[in-house]
Amino acid sequence: MTNGNYQDSQVMEKDILSEENLPQTAQQPPQIKHKLAIKPSVKISLILSKMKNFKKPKLKTIIILLVAIFVVLLGLLLLSSRQSKEETKTRVKIAIASPQVSADPQFEQTKKEVFNFNNELDSLDSELNNIKFPEIDLDVDF
């Protein structure tokens, strides 16, 4: 045996020994990865197994439809609640912006009259000019 071969075998032995003597914590990461890889597949397999109980396709479609309707309703409710929250926010802002007005009923009354009048002014832009007499072709001749 040559010296080089002896030195190589010694290095190899050291590597083997060091691997054997590694603490357990160092060995865990690959196991953790393995566990993470398992969990989604476990969940999917559970769902699939549950779905398999519903042998009839009609039931499956009904369930899917119901879930979809429920989700849509929830979404609409959330949207409407958000809109109402936004509206309440704007109302609160107006109240804060003019605190003195609330203490003066005469001012409020005058302001209301002006507001109503402005609406009536806007009503002047009515569609009366747009309800023109329809154009009718009465040249009926054969």
Partner: protein
């Protein structure tokens, strides 16, 4: 093993029952919600309903017009009995839709009248309603005559008669009625302008600072200017209105009157910013 299969089957049955029950409940809820929305949408005002009816009838009229034109060209091209029969059917249907369109339009004009404010109007609404009712009766009479026709030759004279009636009576009267509505509405808003400017002026006088007195005086002069100009334009519009003919084409007079009414409206609209400005200052 058989016991296990029995338990599985019973579990499946309970699951199926629950699924069915929940499905029924959700469907009921969904149908209630959609029904509620449809009801709320359906509750529209008579004016909006009249507008919708008019739009729908216009569509029907256009379809009937196309069918009539097609049937007419076929008859003129082929001159067969069946082509003539088809031309008669389509022309009769077309004239029926014309009558229906006119009736729906007049009901729309009626609803605009109902929607206008007559408290300060210089006109009697009942007189206008009478004119509209008279025209509706004439159109309904024409519609009955069309329904009673049996040959193609009977239709052109009916169409010609309707055309003359529209040109010499219905159109001039309806156009004048619409202008009357417009003047009445403007008169009402003008009277409201008077009320609001007076109440605002009274309120401001009690709160104005000496520093803002000049502003207030200028505001008052501006309001007075608007009042004078609006009143002058309204008087001119009413004078023009009296000259509008009801037995012949009056489109030029209608246009003139509308221009004067628009001037009155524009003057009134100047007050919008003035009122808000004065309330901001106070």
């Amino acid at each position: 093993m058989p016991n296990a299969s029995r338990t599985i089957n019973s579990k499946q049955l309970t699951i199926n029952k629950k699924v069915k029950l929940s499905a029924i409940i959700f469907l009921l809820l969904f149908s209630l919600i959609t029904h509620h929305f449809s009801l709320t949408l359906a509750q529209q005002s008579p004016l909006n309903e009249a507008k919708a009816n008019y739009t729908a009838q216009l569509t029907k009229y256009n379809i009937a017009n196309e069918n009539y034109i097609t049937a007419k060209s076929n008859y003129i091209s082929f001159q067969t009995a069946s082509a003539k029969g088809e031309a008669f059917t389509k022309t009769k249907e077309y004239l029926s839709q014309v009558d229906e369109l006119l009736l729906v339009y007049m009901r729309l004009v009626e609803e605009y009248g109902e929607n206008s404010k007559w408290q300060n109007a210089s006109f009697d609404k009942s007189t206008l309603d009478g004119v509209l009712d008279e025209q509706i009766i004439l159109i309904e009479d024409h519609k009955n005559q069309v329904q009673q026709t049996e040959t193609l030759e009977q239709l052109p004279p009916l169409a010609k008669g309707l055309k003359e009636q529209l040109d010499n009576s219905t159109i001039p009267k309806i156009n004048k009625i619409i202008v009357t509505f417009d003047i009445a509405q403007t008169e009402y808003v003008f009277s409201r302008f008077g009320d609001v400017s007076q109440s605002t002026s009274d309120f401001v006088q009690t709160r104005i600072n000496p520093a803002n007195n000049t502003l207030f005086l200028n505001w008052q002069s501006e309001i007075a200017d608007i009042k004078d100009k609006t009143a002058n334009n309204l008087d001119l519009a009413k004078q023009n209105h009296q000259k509008i003919k009801e037995d012949k084409n009056n489109s030029f007079q209608i246009k003139q009157t509308n221009q004067i009414i628009q001037r009155a409206k524009d003057e009134l609209k100047r007050s919008k910013n003035l009122f808000e400005e004065m309330l901001r200052v106070i």
